[in-house]
Symmetry: C2
Subunit: 96 residues, 2 copies
């Protein structure tokens, strides 16, 4: 194993990073649509039961190498960012 | 917009979550391979220059809805978890 393998692996990593970026933003778009519906129906944007349900579905499909606790931590960061995005959208809507 | 749209969006969200899970773990597998090479060549596992380079590549491809700062935050969490995974692998290798 040498420089060639390392370059190949780094290239692969960059590709995965961009696919991840695309999916994280795709998820954010879905979150925004859900936020719009919730806003119209005056529903609470934070839904801990739905969040737990999502985490459970994700964890039950986790075959590593990341541990369940790590996967849960990463997704909770994504959820938190998504909630902030919905709140920003809501604030902007109120300002119109 | 009603219950039907919400159910559809939630289904879409669950699908994206599982694709994200798959990619995050695919990334972790690449990280482990890189960790093995680095271990054999006694290279430092944490490489801030490479990390900055990855973040820059990701950010330059970010078209939202998430802000660059949010994307950077999420990826740094993934990087941190990846480094911990490499360190676990290294500790296990030392124990063999």
């Amino acid at each position: 194993m040498g420089k060639f393998d390392m370059d190949q692996l780094r290239k692969q990593m960059d590709d995965v990073n961009l696919k991840l970026l695309e999916l994280i933003n795709e998820r954010a778009t879905v979150v925004q649509k859900i936020g719009e519906i919730k806003s119209k129906q005056s529903m609470n944007r934070f839904d801990p039961v739905r969040e737990r349900d999502m985490i459970d579905k994700i964890i039950s499909n986790n075959h590593g190498p990341f541990e369940n606790s790590t996967i849960e931590h990463i997704f909770k960061e994504i959820f938190k960012a998504s909630l902030e995005l919905q709140e920003d959208d809501h604030r902007k809507a109120l300002l119109v």
